[in-house]
């Protein structure tokens, strides 16, 4: 088992990585209007400072021999009462530092972008406060050295997500979306909390090292139960089937929020959870299979929904759901897939953030229009946005040489390598998904940037200011190069190996059969999209469409399913319980209350206020007590 090392040097201030954005959030949220003028600058500086610190730690970590690359930083011991003790600490290792760099790096870029995007919002300072809060919570989630700290971070990002989806809460749709995200996430969080309780009951500890060193002797049924509960948690946070319904609605939040929280970082927490719990899942085959199934189903689910959405952000959100499906599928494959899943997570962080910022830039230019049927031909007035969006697009569909190609093909390859029927089914699902991805992403690009302009007369598209375009350019650079940097020569897999185990196969082979077929699927997908949306004019009003299109537009009836299976029976149950509560429970409670009230009201007359009657009562009490004692004595 992996041993951790006590923190020294730069690692002893790991807590600052979290504390800086947290302190900044406190200042911005509690500081009120007096921080309005400089609030956004502080809000940007905080994640940047954490990023620099994370970078230094990363460099130091890489410089160490492989066996010493896990540093534990004890923060404080929390003894609630005897027998219930939790040590809260931070753990820096290959996995957590990768996330730290993603969160603070991409996070900083999106913070900078938000200065421009939110420039006209009266509550910009508060927005940055919530954003910093999110960054701090997300960092705690990935840096905690135990499940309790992870859970605190997990709930923290949930809170920040809720606050930011509902940031424009004067819009009823935004308020509802925020509530929906919160409620659906509760279901997943419940699974995670029960998983943690089962762990504590079984192993007596919350710490990663403690739990992971105890799993080898544990009952497989327990491990499967823990694994499935963790998966439930992952499904909620990462919008996987069956808890996927909140993510599309979450696009009601400001676009930087969609980019950072609902694309690049928070929604990938489920992937982190499964990868971090690798020692549990490696010994729980049933749970692991469930993970792959969830991943495969969701990647198709999301891809199909993405094909029918006319709202550019919702199309991208469906794509996020689908791409996370890939990651979940990968980490469900065991040691073979962990590194690829995390690598895809990182590259996805770049290109999906780039896509969302591009979408934000388009909306910024077109008076917050999101309907792609009212775009068209935007490449000309917005060349920079088109270029960065286009590069991210090529990366996500797996254009050879760009980052998505390296990581996605690796996942498809690894799924086929699993062998057996399940391997074939999973691999094929992933492959078909890649084809659909190419189709719906091409559709987005064609409808938005190419073809004839379809925007309203009073819309004058223009390129966004530099504070917005520079982050997009940097993210585009990441979309091009990240895959190459991570995947070539199995570099990232080796870096992660101490945490999640060595992957058995060599890194991706570009000329493998699966790779070639994937390439063909991609070309077909792009081709169909070109036929449908470039050759023919795009109608301004969506056509009625076939049964499949209608289903996809309605999120494959995800909401309808929830409403008929959970909401309506739930409402009936509630009504029944209210009836029961009113008649039976309240009857009993009110009866008891009336009894005590009446009893009390009579009894208080004994308290006459006359000292003579008090003394007499005391004397009576004395007589009773003495008599009782003598009687007991017998």
């Amino acid at each position: 088992m992996l041993t951790t090392h006590a923190a020294s040097g730069v690692f002893s201030v790991t807590w600052l990585i979290i504390a800086i954005p947290l302190a900044s959030a406190a200042v911005l949220i509690l500081g009120g209007r007096r921080t309005d003028r400089w609030g956004h600058l502080l809000g940007v500086a905080a994640p940047l400072a954490s990023f620099v610190l994370g970078l230094v730690e990363f460099a130091t970590l890489v410089g160490k021999p492989e066996v010493e690359r896990s540093i534990d930083n004890h923060v404080f011991g929390w003894t609630i009462v005897e027998g219930f003790h939790a040590d809260i600490g931070l753990q820096v290792d290959a996995l957590s530092i990768s996330f730290v760099l993603l969160i603070t790096g991409v996070g900083s870029l999106i913070h900078i972008y938000s200065i421009g995007y939110m420039a006209h919002d009266p509550k910009r300072r508060l927005f940055f406060g919530y954003f910093n809060l999110f960054v701090a919570a997300m960092l705690l989630l990935v840096l905690g050295d135990n499940y309790l700290a992870l859970y605190i971070g997990w709930e923290g990002v949930g809170l920040a997500s809720y606050l930011l989806i509902g940031f424009w809460s004067y819009k009823p749709s935004a308020a509802t979306a925020a509530k929906k995200a919160f409620v659906v996430n509760r279901v997943g969080d419940f699974g995670l909390s029960v998983a943690i309780m089962v762990m504590f009951a079984t192993f007596g500890t919350f710490s990663f090292t403690g739990v992971f060193s105890a799993v080898h002797g544990a009952d497989p049924a327990t491990l499967n139960a823990i694994g499935l509960l963790l998966l439930l948690g992952a499904c909620g946070k990462s919008a996987q089937v069956p808890l996927q319904s909140w993510l599309l609605d979450a696009m009601e939040g400001p676009t930087p929020v969609s980019a950072l929280i609902h694309a690049a970082t928070m929604v990938t927490a489920g992937v982190y959870l499964v990868a971090r719990s690798a020692p549990i899942f490696d010994l729980a085959p049933t749970a692991q299979l469930a993970v792959t199934v969830v991943g495969a189903v969701t990647l198709l689910f999301g891809a199909i929904i993405g094909c029918a959405k006319d709202d550019i952000k919702k199309a991208l959100a469906a794509s996020t759901m689908s791409q996370i499906g890939y990651m979940i599928l990968a980490v469900g494959l065991g040691p073979a897939g962990y590194a690829f899943g995390i690598a895809h997570l990182l590259t996805h962080g770049f290109f999906k953030a780039g896509l969302f910022l591009g979408a934000g830039s388009v909306m910024h230019a077109t008076k917050d229009e999101v309907d792609m049927r009212r775009f068209g031909g935007l490449a000309k007035p917005m060349p920079l946005t088109f270029a960065t969006f286009g590069l991210a697009y090529l990366a996500i569909i797996g254009f050879p040489g760009l980052s998505g190609w390296f990581t996605k093909d690796a996942i498809i390859d690894a799924a086929y390598h699993k062998g057996g029927t399940s391997g074939f089914v999973l691999g094929s699902a992933a492959l078909i998904g890649a084809g659909i991805t190419a189709f719906y992403m091409s559709r987005v690009v064609f409808m938005t940037f190419l073809g004839r302009p379809r925007w309203e007369a009073d819309v004058h598209p223009h390129e966004s200011p530099k504070v917005m375009t520079w982050p997009m350019i940097l993210l585009a650079v990441g979309s091009i190069g990240a895959g190459y940097v991570l995947m070539l020569g199995g570099r990232f897999a080796n870096f992660l190996a101490p945490v999640v185990g060595h992957s058995e196969e060599p890194s991706v082979q570009p000329a493998s059969t699966a790779g070639l077929v994937t390439l063909a699927a991609m070309v077909v997908g792009v081709g169909i999209a070109a036929l449908m949306y470039l050759r023919r004019p795009v109608p301004a009003v969506a056509p009625a469409g076939s049964f499949a299109t209608v289903a996809a537009r309605r999120d494959l009836y995800g909401d309808a399913f929830n409403e008929s299976v959970f909401m309506r029976p739930g409402q009936y149950l509630t009504r029944l319980l209210v009836f029961f509560d009113n008649r039976v429970v309240d009857g009993a409670v009110n009866g008891i209350a009336a009894f005590f009230g009446g009893f009390s009201g009579r009894l208080r007359y004994v308290q006459t206020g006359f000292v003579r009657s008090y003394a007499l009562s005391m004397l009576g009490g004395v007589a009773i007590l003495v008599a009782a004692l003598l009687m007991v004595r017998g």
């Binding site: 003894t79 009201g601 003394a615 005391m618 004395v622 007590l625 004692l629 004595r633």
Partner: protein
């Protein structure tokens, strides 16, 4: 020294040998007694204008010094001192430390003169509150400063009461702590008749109960031929007298102790006196007297009469149940916040008695912990009661508290915290205190008491939560009372209460360990 004693004895064969006194062990009490005596001299010699400041500084310094002495004494061996009259053991130090800390809090409330013209104490007995005559007295510097030496004497008595290892000394301590309290209860500036009535009632009933103590003492002496706890314990197996002598004796002593800690049916004075006494004094006696009385109860019954536990335990069961039930049920219909807190204190006495009824080592430590937790939440709660005022002084009627949370969210929030602590809800000290006593009771075989206790706390929770609902969910009355800002001293007392209540709620283990290390009583 010994040579000197021998010389004395040789010179005068009839002389009583000078007692051997371990001054260091009783230093905390000596400090407080000394400060009380100096306080009397200050009344006589220091000019009027400087008196209030001098007394405040003197009393606070004395309490802090005594607390330091208590802490310094923790390393001393556990033993009987002053010729076996005083037990210098863990519980003594723990209880004395608690009493001193609580007294500091109470003294801060007593000393705070920033509220109203001249605080809660009458300056000149003939002055009516709010009159020109009273203002003249205040301008002339006529301030009530006797409260300080009186309170210090009471503190000293409270410290001695649980430390005494001898029934006669215990009786003296009981009187030393009670007499100043009778006086203090009658010194209210407003609602003077109520206050004086309270003082007289408290005095009459207190004298009545003291008589029981002396009578019991005499019977026990007749049985054991000694008043020392250790000798009484040994005599239980060796005495040739009839058992009824000691049974009746312990019953009468127990009754007097139950009176002090408001056990039913000796609780009658509690609501009347809590309501009538000036609120800082109510805070002081509610916290301090209860701690001292429970300390003495544990020592007398565990050390002296431990051998008869099988005989007195059933009666304690009965008293515990009656105390919890009466405290819980009568609290439901109270409309005056001080009376409500009085019934709450009766109910709490019942909860503590459940652990006492279990007569185990755990019951000793859990009672000690409960006393710390309860004492501080009580001081804090009464301190808030002092702040809610209208033109006629404190607005104690609950109907006046409606909507207070809207008007002063901070103070109402703090009061809600203390109420939650009394109800035993997390994240407060009250939760762990209740857990500790009920656990001790259950493990000691008092399961039925725990059931009654839990049901009674559910009823008490009703009246605590009702106040919270009252304060927060209704619109404030138009001409309602205001919450005055506390002066620095009251604010410090409130902060002390809040800090202890929350710290003991979040990390109770340190104090639980401390209480566990302090027990058992030296037998």
């Amino acid at each position: 020294m010994r040579l000197l004693a021998a010389f004395h004895a040789a010179a005068n064969p009839n002389a009583i040998p000078a007692p051997h006194i371990e001054y260091r062990a009783i230093l905390p009490m000596l400090i407080v007694f000394g400060v009380a005596c100096v306080g009397v001299l200050v009344e006589a010699f220091v000019p009027r204008v400087h008196r209030a400041v001098t007394q405040t500084v003197l009393a606070l310094a004395g309490l802090v010094a005594a607390l330091v002495a208590v802490v310094a004494n923790t390393g001393l061996p556990r033993r009987l001192v002053v010729q076996s009259a005083v037990a210098a053991d863990g519980p003594t130090l723990f209880i004395q430390g608690t009493i001193l800390a609580l007294s500091i809090g109470a003294l801060l409330l007593i000393a705070d003169r920033s509220i109203g013209a001249d605080s809660d104490f009458v300056a000149q007995a003939a002055d009516l509150p709010g009159t020109e005559q009273e203002r003249a007295s205040v301008r002339a510097g006529l301030r009530q400063t006797e409260v300080f030496p009186l309170a210090m004497f009471a503190v000293a008595g409270m410290m001695l009461f649980p430390a005494a290892n001898d029934l006669v000394l215990a009786f003296v301590a009981l009187e030393v702590l009670s007499l100043p309290l009778y006086l203090l209860a009658g010194m209210a500036r407003r609602r003077r008749l109520l206050s004086q009535e309270a003082a007289v009632k408290y005095f009459l009933l207190g004298a009545f109960s003291s008589a029981f103590f002396v009578y019991g003492l005499a019977l026990v002496y007749g049985y054991a031929k000694s008043v020392e706890y250790g000798d009484i314990a040994t005599s239980l197996t060796s005495s040739d007298r009839g058992d009824s002598l000691v049974i009746v004796g312990l019953a009468l002593i127990g009754i007097s102790l139950l009176f002090k800690l408001s056990g039913v049916p000796f609780h009658w004075w509690t609501p009347d006196v809590y309501q009538g006494a000036p609120t800082p004094i109510t805070a002081f006696m509610a916290a301090g007297t209860k701690v001292a009385a429970f300390g003495a109860l544990l020592r007398v019954f565990f050390v002296a009469f431990g051998g008869l536990a099988w005989d007195w335990r059933p009666v304690v069961w009965g008293v515990a149940i009656a105390t919890m039930v009466v405290g819980a049920i009568l609290g439901v219909t109270q409309t005056d916040v001080k009376r409500l807190l009085a019934y709450s204190s009766i109910a709490h006495a019942g909860f503590i008695l459940t652990a006492f009824a279990a007569t185990t080592r755990a019951s000793e430590s859990s009672v000690l912990f409960y006393l710390v937790a309860y004492g501080f939440m009580n001081i804090g709660a009464f301190a808030i009661v002092m702040l809610v005022r209208d033109a006629d002084g404190e607005a104690n009627h609950l109907s006046r508290w409606v909507g207070l949370g809207r008007r002063s969210p901070l103070m109402a929030g703090i009061f809600a915290l203390f109420l939650l602590a009394m109800a035993g809800l997390p994240p407060t000290s009250g939760l762990w205190a209740k857990v500790a006593v009920f656990q001790a009771a259950y493990q000691g075989g008092a399961g039925p008491l725990v059931i009654v206790g839990v049901l009674a706390s559910a009823v008490t929770a009703y009246y605590y939560l009702r106040i919270i609902v009252l304060m927060f969910s209704q619109e404030p009355a138009v001409e309602g009372p205001t919450v005055v800002m506390p002066g620095a001293l009251s604010a410090a007392a409130i902060a002390l209460g809040v800090a202890v209540t929350i710290v003991l709620g979040v990390v109770p283990q340190t104090v639980l360990d401390l209480a566990d290390k302090a027990v058992p009583f030296l037998r």
